[in-house]
């Protein structure tokens, strides 16, 4: 899969062409969706494997249970759960943003090539695995620092663009940004 920096940057950039500036306040939720599959599955799996290998033997269950959090079925469940933490009127938008970010994450992961082991996207209904196998599993590593710089530059430019050119005028794209929370 691409590294976490690449997933983070892809989340920060991918929504820009599609989302109007006024709705860009939901970008953090989309970014969260784009990063959470790795944070919730790979991070604990890796950490517990290190603990098991070097310090304390752990039950196999704790080492192998994290996979679904990186697959559509688990992503849907935790996205619904996270959505329930938002105010009720915002949940639909939050869910759409989370799932859209997660879809981006999965699509990026599918481009990679793993040794005969793709992603079993239909778990628990099927164990058949999928991947497009276009690039190696570490292909994003050399590009990640540059991608991060481009991301910082784009967001810096967007922030600069939002500044009002004359005092008293609302920043560009912010005229209708302060909508009440009663949005679905």
């Amino acid at each position: 899969m691409p590294d976490a920096v690449t997933h983070l940057c892809s989340g920060l950039l991918a929504h820009i062409p599609w989302v109007p500036a006024a709705a860009r306040r939901w970008a953090p939720v989309f970014v969260a969706g784009a990063v959470l599959p790795d944070i919730l599955s790979r991070a604990p799996s890796t950490a517990l494997s290190v603990v098991h290998s070097h310090w304390v033997p752990l039950p196999s269950l704790l080492l192998y249970c994290w996979g679904p959090l990186h697959l559509p079925s688990g992503i849907l469940l935790y996205s619904l759960a996270l959505t329930m933490l938002f105010p009720a009127v915002q949940r639909r938008t939050a869910l759409v943003a989370l799932l859209a970010g997660a879809t981006l994450h999965v699509l990026l992961d599918l481009t990679q090539r793993h040794v005969g082991l793709g992603y079993p996207l239909l778990v628990p209904f099927s164990s058949r695995d999928f991947e497009w196998g276009l690039v190696g599993s570490e292909a994003s590593v050399p590009w990640a620092p540059w991608f991060a710089l481009v991301t910082l530059a784009v967001w810096g430019w967007l922030r600069w663009k939002k500044q009002p050119s004359t005092p008293g005028t609302p920043p560009e794209g912010e005229k209708d940004a302060h909508r009440p929370e009663a949005e679905g």
Partner: protein, 147 residues
């Protein structure tokens, strides 16, 4: 589904479903996928079976092969070991040989950038924690976006 009606029971149900899915997945991984451990449980039955081991660490290198270590066990692999070094991360596809109780290497990939990828993973995690801390707030029992 997304209303505040029975919010806590709905949230609890979702978390329970997620836990059940994860437990089921771990059980399937241990009891239904065919890895080296399964082959060793009945070598004769699994002789010749293809085993795929992704992202295992080279523990030792011998003239006739090498040993790789994963989360729960060490696996002997018979095959060309020239150029391999302990500590490297590799993925191996091999055929289980019951007589030698080892995998006969058919294909392998050395992941030279694995450590860099792990470092980027940590950096990405920390960056996201900072990003989320800046953009999200907990207010009146709800998760809200920073205004």
């Amino acid at each position: 589904m997304l209303t505040d009606r029975h919010r806590i029971p709905k949230l609890s149900l979702l978390v329970a479903a997620l836990v059940a899915l994860c437990v089921w997945y771990a059980w399937q991984a241990q009891h239904h996928s065919v890895g080296y451990a399964r082959c060793m449980s009945d070598p004769a039955a699994y002789d010749g079976h293809t085993v795929e081991l992704a992202l295992w660490r080279v523990e030792s290198v011998e003239p006739e092969g090498y040993h790789i270590g994963g989360p729960t066990r060490s696996v002997p692999v018979l095959g060309p070991s020239a150029g391999l070094e302990p500590g490297w991360t590799i993925s191996v596809v091999g055929r289980f040989d019951a007589r030698q109780e080892a995998l006969v290497e058919q294909w392998r990939e050395v992941h030279h950038s694995r450590r860099h990828k792990a470092a980027l993973g940590l950096l990405g995690l920390l960056s996201f924690v900072g990003y989320a801390g800046y953009h999200f707030r907990w207010r009146d029992g709800r998760l809200v976006l920073r205004a």
